[in-house]
Symmetry: C2
Subunit: 336 residues, 2 copies
Amino acid sequence: MVQFVSVENMIALIQDKGIENIIMGVAEAIEDDFKRWPDFEKQPRIASHSALGVIELMPTCDGVTYGFKYVNGHPLNRDIGKQTVTGFGVLADVETGYPQFLSEMTILTAIRTAAMSALAAKYLARTDSKVMAMIGTGCQAEFQAHAFKVMTGVSSLRIYDIDDAAMDKFERNMKGKGFDIIRCDNAQKTLIGADIVTTCTADKRQAKILTENMVGQGMHINAIGGDCPGKTELEKSILLKSDIFVEYPEQTWIEGEIQQLDKNHPITEIWKVFTGEAKGRKNNGQITVFDSVGFAIEDFSALRYIMDITKETVFAEDMDLLALPENPKDLFGLLG
Amino acid sequence: MVQFVSVENMIALIQDKGIENIIMGVAEAIEDDFKRWPDFEKQPRIASHSALGVIELMPTCDGVTYGFKYVNGHPLNRDIGKQTVTGFGVLADVETGYPQFLSEMTILTAIRTAAMSALAAKYLARTDSKVMAMIGTGCQAEFQAHAFKVMTGVSSLRIYDIDDAAMDKFERNMKGKGFDIIRCDNAQKTLIGADIVTTCTADKRQAKILTENMVGQGMHINAIGGDCPGKTELEKSILLKSDIFVEYPEQTWIEGEIQQLDKNHPITEIWKVFTGEAKGRKNNGQITVFDSVGFAIEDFSALRYIMDITKETVFAEDMDLLALPENPKDLFGLLG
């Protein structure tokens, strides 16, 4: 039987453990896995593009466990009352090839993205960071806020979204969660006094959510909305005056903010910062950019963490996905 | 909710409709889809190789529906009482990116492989073919026999396997199914008088299951066991005197019998035979080889057929795989 975590059980699990604990658990799993980066098979995700969006498979393998995520990105879905991103993930045993674990990953993707963002910021943002500007208060926003609170000590949020209802929703959801929230009426104002900036917008086009004049010395920019070819959020000149950190360069050159740059532009792989091979923040004046597009290993880490904590609990079900006849050569016998 | 067909329900469905009807239904879906070959996004499967086997993702898309299969191939699993091949598949709606359908594909892969084999033979074998030699009577064998019976009129089977127990199992399963079965004690004898030869062995190495001297004029060879790099079943000289038909050349050059040939060797894409663009069998003396490795579109076709016939029936369950909040921007609200 395959261990299955449904949407209902994912929600129950998070309610039981608390969102911040789950985020920290996922972040720890990501950090552990990124520190053994060379152990993993890596490739850019396998994308199927259509006029309205993209469907992707994101596989990876550490030689013991194989994992992949199915995920879509359909920005216009929100206009028809649907989710822009949905997903599910699978882990399998490399030795036998048998799938072991299947989980919803619509919610879990939001969690792992927030965990990755805050983990990177732990190494890249100024250690005295308290104020985060958030451009875009869609599906990711609350998860990001919780992650930055518990992992980097952010306590003040300056928010902006072109959609007032999205800001209403954010404020409603985050009420009483220990944040001081300031609602702004444009992106420029949002950045005033911010130590960290998170950009998370969904337009599938080259946008300039941040322009150079907005970005002050010492800021850390967590750029997570630019995540497919032709979709970026930062003005190129911001990148030119920053130090840029990425997950997996082969994928980020295709999908990230650095699409805008010359292929020789220096970038640093974030896993090397985690292991100490590369330097993160060097001084308080430096501008750092985490050009995050999401990478398969993050999903792998999130899945193995959820598999571990739900094993033999009420949060996992048995799924009848594998036809396993007693005599392995007698598959046909199952029909008789 | 995602429509889910479990192993138990796949078995119940086959028992209800009859294996030969299901095979014909899948074959018809494959033929329809292969006839609109240019409509599909195609790529060689994405393989993760390990010492003991391979795990693969096989995606394709026709612009309306996206599909992929997860499948493993672990030949040594049989030595530890496990399945060498297991799988599951998914269909999704391209417009929204939402997964729609998930099904077991361990049994369904056996069915679609048999359907593809017999469909190709309908175009490539002599129309008076009655006798099929089968080298290898493992998991695929009974499915192949049923497919060739119902689709090409094969009534006599000459079988051989290095494992006596596998032949016992085959004879037991096929008893009373309308076949005349002759058990042979080596591959050479098996081929005597055969119109069609199906080779389906599982060794992950370059083998010579068939040698040139065994193969007579007018034979059709259905070579399905050579399906990954370094794994072949036919002596090269057989290929040199045959006309060779393949599914998707880019993948077959990597995985099929034609690994052994010069890249300029002429091969014919089987979809062109289905549409009439290319000739199948030209005369009764010609030797034809269907160098089948299995391609993503076959899984897509099998999945869409099973999705259609199980929709709103007792054979499908609702699976809670998609987190879909009422307000699409309020994913976090689901946790409240």
